[in-house]
Amino acid sequence: MADLFKTLSVLILISSFVVMAGKRIESAVAGYRLQSVLIALAVGIEGSERFAHEKTPDMLLMCLLIFLVKVVWIPNRLCAAQARLHSASEKDFILNIPILVLLCSLLVVFIHFVFSGIEGISWGPLHDRLVNSVSVVFIGMLFMISRKRAIGQIIGFLVVENGLFVTAMFATGGMPLVVELGILADVLTAVMVMGAMVYAIHDHFDSIDIEKLNHLKG
């Protein structure tokens, strides 16, 4: 079982690389969809395990919700937004994709280095899983920084959220259902608000390049 989780955590990490490597928004969204599938899978495995032992369906319910929201609804919405804005052609990253991917792997090394100094998780399976999931958080942030167009920031934010969720799950074996539901609701709201903002930016500047926002500075 531990091996399975380890494999899953590595896969989740790789999926974030995929997100980062996507040149077009559509491919980044696809990477995100993949990552969410993997997370749902991990939650589902953990949940069925729990259900078998403690008869608590919380995690299974969670798995279902994640699947519905993160795998189906959010990616679809993002794709729809992208289609509506037709701004596919321009190059929207600040550095070359290979360099960005290289930076991501450096980040993983750095996180490993940091975690190896923390008592209790300096080695062992938990260490590996945590390094992988925290790396996802940082890669998400790097993604947000590297993309110029507003949708990129939304995807980056979602990856960060995924990373945090996975970290929490691996570190504590899942948070209480209420908390998870709250976070999920937050993500939903955030996506809706940010989506609305993206449209507003587009209407105002005829572009969703967030560098245009610099003019708003006082």
Partner: protein, 681 residues
């Protein structure tokens, strides 16, 4: 024992002040009754807390600390105490508040009533409570809360006439400076707690290392120095004091600045105990700078209240000089110097509360009567306001350290303290003492000049404007209140022994190892003398000489001169037929020579614009002159300018407005923190 205790008196005083604040709000619709009730209650309360303070001062045992009320927050309780030091300052407060409240009976109704009398009385009552709490807090956190309360309430008072732009600016500067200072105080208190494990004001600091003590000392100096208004933290003071309503200016100058002196004595002397020689040297140098520059700037002012405000800086400087000498002598093992310095400094605080309270009240009277504070528009008021004139003259004589009044005695003691501090062992420090003597002498001469100017320009000569001509004497309550303070100045100046004995008990508490018995004589009318030195001063005898000579001269001359009565004539006019008031020396012109001589300090601005086409036949010449404080222009202005330009540069480099850049800051900060955490276990 059943009966009146100091604790009971203190509590009832607090209650009465609070009642005054509430009553004032309740009777908002009936201003007459409200003002009278509020001020009456304040006066009764002042009698209570004055009596309580006297009980503590005259008794042997201090009023032990006790908690009036415990908040839910740990460590924070309304815990009060009143030892001799606190009691002494509470006594100052009681005396001044009593007189100011009496004054306010006449003043408030006339001046404040354009606005809400109720709110004014409410703030007034709370302000006094906060002052009282600062002086009696037993716990540093409560002290800090009371301190902030005092700052905010006085800010409201400074901003009372905020409809004028300059007052708004004064209030802003004040609140910024006072909050910066408070931050230093809070840091100092927390460091004290960290190293002593106690929030009590009596915490034992013997376990602290010298380095920590040094830092805490510096924090205290910045924190308290700002409130006291010593250089270079004084910039708010000359604007804030004049902006507040008259009776509040009196309270701020007389009492609020003393809370800072209290703080320094309490925390630096009692709590930290003087560690190193440079502490005292720093106090002395800052005090000296404040005294000399304060009196110099006071001399050149043309606004009555601003002159008094600068003069407050001067006097607080003298107080700090006394403290510095006390500290330096203490570290040098010179008990006499340490003792006299402390007594001189506390005595001067007391005297300053009396005469500056009186002077600010006189200034408020002038402002009420003549509707202006600009000395260039006043003049000749002694004919219409003779009583206020005499009171202001007496106040001026006190603050200029002239002989029958109290200011002289404490300044003489400061001189004596410096004299005692000079020893062969102190080597290089002697130079500092020498400079201190010279500075004090110059301060004295400039103070004489400043108060000659204040009295001479405002009350003598001819009125310089119609308003000044139409001024009439203020109400009896205002005269009596002010007269009480002035009478006390004279009493203390003539019979200083009792009060010096009271103060020396505080100094004995502070330096318990001091072997000497401070004041030799026991009867109140005797000359003051210190057993350790053969010198003595007897203002009483000098005054006796002065007054008897004066009387004899007058008695001899007047009867003999009866057959040659004074003939009244016009002022000699060099044959020019009409002397107008504008031909008198103006307030600006009076201090011009000093401004020119000390232009390094004053940075005078002179601007001459000639209108008209031909240089030899100008149609008009405009001449502008003003003197600026060089601390303001050379220390604070460059600083604020640097902050602004740095902020502008930051805006273009760091704060670009790019969302991704901000995200990048967060990202790299996180990485940095993680790396730091890894590197430093």
């Amino acid at each position: 024992m059943i009966g009146i205790t100091a604790k009971g008196l203190l509590e009832s005083a607090l209650g009465l002040y609070f009642a005054a604040a509430i009553v004032s709000l309740v009777f908002q619709k009936q201003p007459k009754a409200g003002v009278a009730a509020c001020n009456m209650l304040c006066m009764v309360a002042s009698v209570c807390c004055g009596a309580g303070a006297l009980m503590v001062l005259l008794a042997r045992a201090p009023l032990a600390g006790y908690s009036g009320f415990q908040f839910a927050v740990p460590f924070v309780a309304v815990s009060l105490q009143m030892d001799k030091l606190s009691a002494f300052f509470v006594l100052c407060l009681a005396v001044v508040v009593f007189c100011v409240s009496l004054y306010a009976m006449g003043y408030t109704r006339r001046v404040i009533s354009q606005r809400s009398n109720g709110v004014y009385g409410f703030l007034y009552g709370l302000f006094i409570i906060s002052l009282l709490w600062v002086l009696t807090a037993e716990n540093t956190l409560f002290f800090y809360i009371a301190w902030e309360m005092m700052s905010v309430l006085s800010f409201f008072m400074v901003a009372w006439h905020a409809d004028k732009a300059e007052n708004k600016k004064a209030a802003t500067t004040y609140i910024i400076m006072t909050h910066l200072a408070a931050a230093f105080l809070l840091a100092a208190f927390l460091m004290l707690y960290q190293h002593t494990g106690s929030f009590s004001v009596f915490a034992d600091s013997s376990g602290m290392s010298a380095e920590v003590k040094n830092i805490v000392f510096l924090f205290f100096i910045v924190g308290f120095g700002t409130k006291a208004g010593i250089l270079p933290f004084h910039i708010w003071l000359p604007y804030a004091y004049p902006a507040a309503p008259g009776s509040i200016s009196a309270l701020m100058s007389a009492i609020m600045s003393k809370t800072a002196v209290y703080g320094v004595v309490r925390f630096v002397f009692f709590n930290l105990e003087i560690g190193q020689t440079w502490w005292g040297a720093l106090l002395l140098i800052m005090g000296l700078l404040s005294a000399v520059l304060g009196s110099a700037y006071a001399f050149v002012q043309t606004d009555i209240k601003r002159l008094l405000a600068y003069s407050s800086i001067d006097n607080i400087g003298i107080v700090f000089m006394g403290l510095g000498i006390s500290a330096m002598s203490h570290t040098a093992g010179n008990h006499t110097g340490a003792f006299i310095g402390m007594v001189a400094s506390l005595f001067h605080s007391f005297n300053h509360a009396l005469f500056k309270g009186s002077l600010f009240l006189s200034a408020a009277s002038v402002e009420t009567a003549a509707k202006t504070r600009d000395m260039n528009r006043l003049g000749g008021l002694i004919k219409t306001m003779p009583r206020t004139g005499v009171l202001l003259l007496c106040g001026g004589l006190s603050v200029a350290a002239l002989i029958p009044f109290n200011g002289f005695v404490s300044e003489w003691m400061t001189y004596r303290a410096i004299f005692t501090a000079v020893t062969i062992q102190s080597e290089g420090l002697n130079i500092l003492y020498l400079v201190a003597i010279a500075g004090l002498a110059m301060t004295g001469a400039l103070a004489v000049a400043a108060y000659v100017k204040l009295f001479g320009i405002v009350f003598l000569g001819k009125p310089r404007s119609a308003q000044a001509e139409e001024a009439s004497e203020v109400s009896p309550a205002m005269i009596v209140a002010n007269g009480l303070l002035t009478a006390m100045c004279l009493m203390v100046g003539v019979f200083p022994v009792t009060i010096i004995q009271i103060i020396s008990k505080i100094a004995m508490d502070l330096y318990p190892s001091n072997p000497m018995i401070p004041v030799q004589t026991s009867s109140w009318y005797q000359p003051v003398s210190f057993t350790v030195s053969v010198d003595k001063i007897a203002p009483l005898l000098a005054i006796f000489a002065l007054i008897s000579i004066l009387t004899v001269t007058i008695l001899l001359i007047l009867p003999l001169a009866k057959n040659r009565p004074v003939r009244r004539c016009v002022t000699w006019d060099c044959g020019y037929p009409k002397l107008t008031p504008s031909m008198q020396y103006s307030a600006t012109g009076f201090s011009k020579p000093i401004v020119i001589v000390l232009r390094m300090v004053f940075r005078p601005l002179r601007k001459k614009t000639v209108t008209g086409s031909h240089p030899y036949h100008p149609q008009g010449i405009d001449y502008d002159t003003a003197a600026y404080s060089f601390v303001e222009t050379n220390l604070y202005k460059p600083f604020t300018r640097a902050v602004y330009s740095a902020a502008n540069r930051m805006q273009s480099i760091v704060q670009t407005g790019s969302v991704r850049r901000y995200l990048g800051y967060i990202f790299f900060l996180l990485l940095l923190l993680m790396a730091y955490n890894r590197m430093v276990p």
